[in-house]
């Protein structure tokens, strides 16, 4: 019997110093967390506030692991983890810098030119610069290799034509990292893709239109590129290496605390609504959910530790996201059976309105950042089945 090493999780490294930092973050939140509707914290990194991002930047809590010469703070992945989870658990409005801090910045750091690093990373770290992800298209969701947005080489750069879809926060972002076809796919289908840095505020020919989700909220966008000229200096990484760059980016995207804390606000309100002495059935349900959260938190910190050690835990990250989003989607289903209330977004009762928001956001949890089926396919690959 061979053990399955591809899916091995190293125990998270012991890290007692984190508790000092945790205290600092909690004190910061007690002082600076804006008063706002409770539902704004629902769904993980939902709310956005440039002012709040700037304050976090000033504390050194964005780009924490990056080199100091690019505005970073050279702290460990596990310290960064503490900041992330404290922000999410409190429902802080972090979406203004979330994507840039998590994946765009690290990608630029890894493959960007000196000029790109110098001009962009310090602004991200200051909370001044937000990013969105230009990957999905109308005919290219899970099958990312099929993107059709084309960047044709022209004098001095590229001309881009095509449409990106489901682009979260494009309407609020300063930059997009855009995945385009620049050449032939080849037999493996993964060739001929290139990533570009696109300044959304200063580039002509880009139209951003809202795509409202089922609750009527505006997070998604359709982004149309019509004869958009991008200078050669905007190529991010190597021409033709887009696929490798995108897949390594996704390991960072999949294993963080945002993959099991999306329904945490609802869990807090459930505990409040149940009171200090709930029924046996409620205790059992609550104990089970929290046992899952303890475990997910350990698995997720384990991946953070492996990333810190320079490993590539892509399959472990997929596994954490699969388990985490399953729990996130279960929480509203369990909560509604424990409190006799009808979900209503307009309710004045916190539990009722948070339940409504969570329920209506829940389908996205196992779609964004890789569908459940894609993730399980990756795990199966880790098991040697494909």
């Amino acid at each position: 019997m061979a053990s399955i090493d591809n899916l091995r999780f190293e125990p998270p490294p012991p890290f007692p110093e984190a508790e000092v930092l945790r205290g600092e973050v909690r004190a910061f939140l007690a002082e600076h967390l804006p008063k706002r509707a409770i539902t704004e914290g629902v769904g993980s990194w939902g709310g956005s506030s440039r002012e709040f991002s700037r304050k976090m930047g000033a504390r050194g809590w964005i780009g924490m692991t990056w080199p100091k010469r690019y505005g970073g703070h050279e702290r460990s992945a596990l310290e960064r983890y503490v900041v992330l989870e404290e922000m999410l658990a409190s429902g802080a409005p972090v979406s203004g810098h979330w994507v840039a801090d998590r994946q765009s910045g690290p990608l630029i750091l890894r493959v960007g030119t000196e000029q790109q690093k110098n001009s962009i990373l310090p602004r991200i770290a200051a909370g001044e610069c937000s990013f969105c992800i230009g990957m999905s298209e109308p005919d290219s969701g899970s099958d990312l290799a099929s993107v059709r947005t084309r960047a044709a080489a022209v004098e001095g750069g590229f001309r881009v034509n095509g449409t990106k879809l489901w682009t979260s926060n494009a309407h609020r972002s300063d930059y997009m990292i855009l995945l385009c076809r620049t050449g032939e796919a080849g037999e493996q289908r993964h060739g001929g893709l290139t990533q570009f840095l696109v300044d959304l505020k200063a580039t002509r020919g880009i139209a951003i239109r809202p795509v409202r989700n089922l609750s009527g909220d505006h997070h998604f966008n359709e982004v149309v590129f019509q004869d958009v000229f991008l200078p050669g200096a905007n190529v991010l990484g190597e021409v033709g290496s887009g696929w490798q760059q995108v897949t390594s980016e996704l390991a960072f995207e999949r294993s963080g605390p945002e993959r099991f804390l999306s329904s945490f606000t609802l869990l807090v309100e459930l505990v409040r609504a149940l009171g200090p002495d709930p029924s046996e059935r409620a205790r059992i349900a609550l104990g089970r959910i929290v046992a899952h959260i303890y475990t997910l938190r350990r698995l997720s910190r384990s991946v953070a530790g492996m990333l810190q050690a320079g490993a590539n835990p892509a399959q472990q990250a997929a596994l954490v996201k699969d388990l985490g989003t399953t729990l996130e989607q279960e929480i509203p289903e369990i909560a509604r059976q424990l409190i006799d209330a009808e979900p209503d977004r307009a309710s004045t009762q916190d539990f009722v309105t948070v339940l409504a928001h969570t329920m209506m956001n829940a389908p996205s949890f196992s779609l964004r950042g890789g569908t459940r089926e894609i993730l399980r396919g990756m795990i199966a690959r880790g098991l040697g089945l494909r």
């Binding site: 807090v268 002495d277 205790r283 059992i284 104990g287 046992a291 795990i379 880790g382």
Partner: protein, 351 residues
């Protein structure tokens, strides 16, 4: 993970691999304690892993000792290794040298009440304990009894007790023991109470379940790669792949939860990590066993295939030392009492 732990685990894997052969498993299933296996476990020091060196034990670090049970669970070791380790821990906490041979511990179920009173230079027991692992076949039963508002650890001879033999779904002995009137010459007061005993037992079963899940995952993946239907290995079908991915997730979760409990148990047996491990591993056991059987089809449902050595243990162990509902009720009650605004603090404090 400590280097010692890696070395201990590697040695244990070799020992279990050598001794848990198909023939040994088959005969143990009939109720026989494999003598060669037991000698090897004793000589390797595993049975006395939680007994300090000064008391003649192997004196392993508690986390290293408990980690052995991942491997024991993976190989479905058909012997009371966990139980004898647990007895050694309890005896050592009372300063009593453990007798040789397999040992049983009682009580293991909440609500089972064993009492002791002084009787000359010794002690006299009262009360019953149900589902005691290996009681009839043990060299001694280590009873944890209430005595004058303190916890007494006493050595009872199985021959002195009225025992009704039984078994769990895996055929492991689970006996009902009536201690009424049993006299013990050896006994001493100790710090651990019945709740602490149940906690350590729960940590042990969690590690065993995590190991068993690892085994059913490996067996199932192997089978899916070999079994051909419709002209290709069934592991090529996406429906099967997705199920195996779920099984892998459950095995990983059970392992992580049990590792956390092992770390916590070394300094706090009442840590929420203990409850969380038994809840999470217990849930994983049911889901994992079901998928393993689905993947294996009819052959996995037969006695001749080895899968049932693991799955029957998973179905048994999840209900021993408190099932998921038992631990979730306790954990959920504590969290509710602490209140909504302490929930996140409680989660991060558990480590």
């Amino acid at each position: 993970m400590s280097e010692t732990r890696d070395l201990v685990r590697e040695a244990a894997e070799r020992l279990f691999e050598k001794h848990c052969t198909a023939e040994t498993m088959r005969r143990a299933d009939g109720g026989e304690l494999p003598q060669a296996l037991w000698r090897a476990l004793t000589e390797a020091g595993y049975t006395s892993a939680l007994v300090p060196e000064s008391a003649g034990g192997a004196g392993l670090d508690m986390s290293d000792a408990l980690s052995l049970l991942f491997s024991a669970g993976r190989h479905a070791v058909p012997a009371p290794l966990a139980e004898t380790m647990l007895a050694g821990w309890l005896l050592s906490s009372a300063g009593i040298a453990p007798p040789e041979g397999p040992l049983a511990v009682a009580p293991v179920r909440e609500g089972d009440d064993v009492k002791a009173s002084r009787d000359g230079t010794g002690w006299r027991l009262q009360g019953k304990a149900g589902r005691v692992p290996w009681a009839a076949r043990a060299a001694a039963i280590v009873a944890l009894a209430r005595c004058e508002d303190r916890n007494l650890v006493a050595l009872a001879a199985p021959g002195d007790c009225r025992i009704v033999g039984g078994a769990n779904l895996a055929g492991e002995p689970r006996d009902d023991v009536d201690f009424s009137g049993v006299r013990c010459s050896v006994g001493a007061f100790a710090a651990p109470d019945a709740a602490a005993l149940r906690s350590l037992g729960a940590v042990m079963r969690s590690a065993q379940m995590a190991g068993a899940l690892q085994s059913v995952l490996e067996t199932s993946v192997q089978y899916a790669r070999e079994r051909v239907q419709f002209g290709r290995p069934i592991g090529r079908f996406q429906a099967v792949q997705q199920n195996l991915a779920v099984l892998a997730g459950q095995a990983a979760a059970a392992t992580a939860a049990a590792e956390a409990a092992i770390e916590a148990a070394a300094h706090d047996l009442h840590s929420p990590a203990v409850a969380a491990a038994k809840i999470r591993a217990g849930e994983a056991a049911g889901i994992g066993a079901a998928i393993a059987h689905q993947v294996h089809g009819a052959i996995g449902f037969t006695q001749e295939h080895r899968l049932h050595y693991s799955t029957r243990r998973l179905w048994s162990w999840r209900d021993e030392f408190g099932n998921e509902a038992y631990w979730a009720r306790r954990l959920g009650g504590e969290l509710a009492a602490a209140g909504a605004d302490r929930l996140w603090h409680g989660i991060t404090a558990a480590g």
